[in-house]
Amino acid sequence: MATRWFKSAATAVAILSATALTGCSGTSSTDSRPAGEPVTIEFWGAAVGLEKSADIFNAAHKDVQIKYTQISEGSAGGYAKMLNAVKAGNAPCLASISYNTVPSFAASGSLEDITEYAKDSKDRYSPAGWQLSSLGGSVYGIPVDLGPMALFYRADLFQQFGITPPTTWDEFQTAAETVKAKSPDAYMAPYPLRTDDIGALAWQAGGNWFGTEGDAWKVSINDEPTKKVANYWQGLADKKLVVPEPAFDTAWYTSLQSGRIVSYVGAVWSGALIAKNAPGLKGKMAVAELPQWKKGEHASGNRGGSAYTVLKGCKNPKEAAEAAVWLTTNTDSLTSMIKETGIYPAAVSGQKLPALTAGSDFFANADKTADIFTTAAKNTPDKWVFGPNMTSLSPKMNDGLKVAASGQGTIPQLLDTIQESTIADLKSQGLSVKE
């Protein structure tokens, strides 16, 4: 018996340790230092090449030095590592996290309120970025980059089908019908399979999924604008004008190149990915302003982007916040980030940098792309608030969108389900919800 018990026990251990054993490493940046020595700010992020910006900072500063450590992508364990480090009391001072993670970090008590050190820098950033780094009137992060949205399309195929880039969502649907009529195997765009797809489009339409009122969260995932977006895309799906193919997957790039998918509604960073993974499309792709709900408007949504936050327990929150502001507004640092990591700066000054406006010659209208994204960033509504449970909401909604895409249920129905489950989720965590 003993040996068999042992084997099974070992199995149990293997399962348990998979979830219980989590990496706790990293040294504390918070220890006391002898007088005269510079403050060292430890900085964790997933971005490649960020150490160059840290070097630029260090060369320009004597009393504060940044030590950058590249860790894994947030969803691949990076965020878990940060949260564990906060729990263990050896977290770095600065951490780069995506906007949609800021509230869940804040609501788990893992972020320092840096309002007093940061509030004077507000006007240096796009309003949408600043809004995404703040919650309930307090500042929890310094905005780094944004993901203004646009329409990426196959200019050659549009010309072949006789379509001009749609300026409204009505025109987008007419164009989609033309595509189907001219080429039965082709689709106007991929089906919105991700929470972010729906979120960014609802954002453009003026929706807002979360908010805070006093000491309680407000949840409105099925608000009017989001429902409008959901109904619209459900309509396209019902007419088989869009196809459920996960964006940025190998098959998706193949479909873009073969002309099975002729356009994509995406954020500014999609451009670099398409250029890298579908090089055959050079000169064939172009960028247009996001179609509008009202003709003549220029509204856009935001997808992606991140903030530099100060983690709980940091002994030098003032220096950390100031370093974050410097990194995200200094011309040299931003130029390096644009070149190394391909960000679209949240700092207003950064959006005018030559490194950005030069544009990529991958797109047929390379001379116009920078303007399109600047206009989009300027016209992104600054009311959007992410909730404290995006880490559980997103996978749930992704699952639901997959199911809806396969024809079971609809996107508007899914919104109602997610609205309900989110309220229950927040309440079960002990958070107050205003209904």
């Binding site: 149990a12 348990l16 219980a20 989590t22 997957d249 895409a405 002990g430």
Partner: protein, 319 residues
Amino acid sequence: MTAPTLSAQQSVQPGNTTIKPRKSRLSRKTRRAALLFLAPFMIMFLSMKVAPIFYAIYQSFFKTERTGLGFGESKSIFSGFENYLVAMQNSDFMASFGRVFLIGIVQVPLMLGIALVLALLLDSAFSPFKRSFRLIFFLPYAFPGVIAAIMWSFLYQPQIGPFSAWLSAIGIHVNFLTDSTVFFSIGNMMTWGFTGFNMLVIYSALQAVPGELTEAASLDGAGWWATSWHIKIPAVRPSIILTAVFSIIGTVQLYNDPAILAKVAPGISSTFTPIMAAREQSAANNYNLAAAESVILALVALVLSFGFLKFTQRKGADS
């Protein structure tokens, strides 16, 4: 026939024979030396294996309490079995057990059947190129699981994989990644990956079957089939049971294949298997619930494998 005696012999499990260890009279010096040699293993084993189990069990009895917007300090409070209740009431988590059960009940017998047949074929006297075939059958197991899963995810995708194109050329239109076909796709990946390993375990057991037995059988006029059925299979029964237990545990813990396929398969949700569901909770920063789900998963694996062992032991005693 010799079959009954053989299986009786084989089914004597070490656990059934109770041999009390003699009280050892080791000198203090020897004992200290033994401890010293054991220390590296014990330290790693206790800290990396045993401690996490107890920490997970401990965590599963607590919950994080927050108030208002949650921005202040949160505190951990004892919650008894609340996390277990929440996990049991979580339809996604419970459904994930149904899925692995469904996959396991078809895939495990099928895979072990193939493994047994391959092992018997390799063991038969006439099979040519024994070494090459043994290596070829075993090769898939040598692939790192994640890489194999990525490869399969390419092969399955209708836009880039070859299978869909070949099948549609002969008039069969099938998508391997829908919510119904994905069970077969995952079962196929598991069978491809692990048949070779199980075959090897059974094959090595076959090597230990005394040559006199098979020789005597063939003198008695038993053909390949009769020899296999009456002599070889009863002789390797413990190995088959062992591979079955491993396979049951492996299926309950299914993770790699569906997690990789989920990126491209519409039919795979983020809580498709129990481990994926538990991982989902830890990704959502709900470590207490993740711990409770992990403990439940471990218990289910324990009960299933022990249950299977008990069941086969009784069957073995009956025959």
